[in-house]
Amino acid sequence: MNNQEILIELKNLTKKFGHFYAVKSVSLEIKRGEIVGFLGPNGAGKTTTMKMIANLLTPNAGEIWIRSNGEIQKLTRKNRDVLLDNIGFLIEIPAFYGKVTPKEILKYFAKLKGYPRQKLNERIDTVLKMVGLLEWKDKKIGTFSKGMKQKIGIVSAIIHDPDIIILDEPQTGLDPTARKEVRDFILNLKKMGKTVFLSSHLLYEISEVADRIAIIHHGQLIAFDTLDNLEERAKKSVIHFELLNPPNNYIDEFIEKLKKIIIPLTGIAEEQSWIKFDNDTKIFQVFFNGNPKNQTEILKILLNKGYEILEFSVPKAGLLENLFIELTRTNKTGGDFK
């Protein structure tokens, strides 16, 4: 199996609604076995792009190429059944017919995709086991929680055992535990040799699983690279730290005090620097140049000043967030980007 083999290639893909460009000349390729994160704020064009791959929307311009049976072919009306059989889709939040059971709906979907009948029951059990819902297979989906429905949505995308899985915002609306389960599931898919194209507006969810990240904004692809390379491009980052006894009453004064000792070590001009405090998580954030040396200096000074530090880290999402802000600086509206 060749890991450099391209499974999906988008060439100048464009979709217009009236005069509005939902997707403008997007080109990217997805290679076998990798997880490609498709990142962008709400309304950036992620779902539209995925719907074009699913043949639910017709592009105004551009081409979609998909590998099937060893050969990469341009998606057309004639060959769409053959090509799309190799892909499993989860588009937006899945909704189900409430009165059916997971077993019934998965059986129907698998049959639609031509999965061998004799292996159907075994396959349904396998995929439900993967998401911990095996004992729920004969219960009505109408009684399921949102997270359970989301899991059924994800397994409905993989029930016919496709090589490529396209997941559109699979973690939206889920609680942290369910989000982690979905994240682990996506990583498991990679281990199974599947290729995943995953969209989200949640930076953290993408940065934790993706090998390469494509950033889309206002319908245009503004970056597409590995996380390491994107970090390199960002060159700036955010330190997260938590104190054992954070001051609760005079936080503004405390931040001013921190600024005096930390900002000279951030490697960033004073007017661009900032320190924030999140009241909910009790975490301080320090914007710095991303250099590990500066990171160490900041830690040292905090310890020298006698602060008791519980946690001190640089989350990957922070780097990505900075890059995104930098890349979209010319656009005043950043959208709902978390």
């Binding site: 199996m1 043949n55 053959v82 937006e92 995709k113 031509g114």
Partner: protein
Amino acid sequence: MTLESEQIKTDIIEIENKKFGLKRDISQIINTINFESRRFFKNFILIILIFLGIFIISLIVQELQYAQDVPLPNDPIEYINSYLGMFGFMVILSAAGFAGSIIAEDFHRQTGNLIFPKISKFKLLIGRLISRYSFNAICVSFYYILIGSITFIKYEEIPIELWGSMGWAFLYTFMIFTFITFMSSIMKSTAISIIVSVLFLLIVFNMISSILLFTGVRIEPLYILTYYEGIIRYSMAMPKPRYTEINIPTGPSGDNGEMQTTTFLQWITPSEIVAFIGMLIYSILFITLAYFLYRRRQSKNV
């Protein structure tokens, strides 16, 4: 043989086993029919019970009449007709129950996001039409079997015309079914499509019919869908002429003291050939429109 070539061989075998083209289309339609049949089985039972209930009520009314010394009609067709008084309403009710959600539900509940990447809208619609209309037709057959049975008990024969009437009932049900399918393609939700369809079929069309009657329009109201219901009853004994004349006083009396009256035509039923062509044209028109609206809706919303 290397692992890689074995993998390729396995892939090829799997692809060979998969159906493509027409075979695949038929297979997907059959799978949809099976899935939809399972999904709508409870609705089917409910509608069967409603039909049974209406039959029992009609039977009780008939028996009460005979208990009061009203004689049994000599002609079994007349007896059969007494059970078809509410049939138009029953058809509308059952068709709304089966077809009201046929298109609207995937947009209203967003289930389309899950299903449309797996099957084309055309095949999904065909599969749903077949399964749900089959249920509807079985309900109609069930009602006719009940009528046939009671007629046999009473008259020791079942007039052949009853089965002709059942054929018309199938066609009329199909036309109403396609009309509701069309409404389902333009309405936002299942509930709205059912309510609006029933309003149109039970009230709006009847209002139009009444207005036209009293405005003196004499042409046959072939543009009113519920008018075609008449063929179900009157195909068994076609009236001649197919309309009744109603004389209604419309002005002051003249010199001779007589009231001025105007004659209005009330159409009872279309002729058999007109009913057949009319219902067929409407059915095709509604299905075609519903499909194109469905496709258009796909490109906008899902």
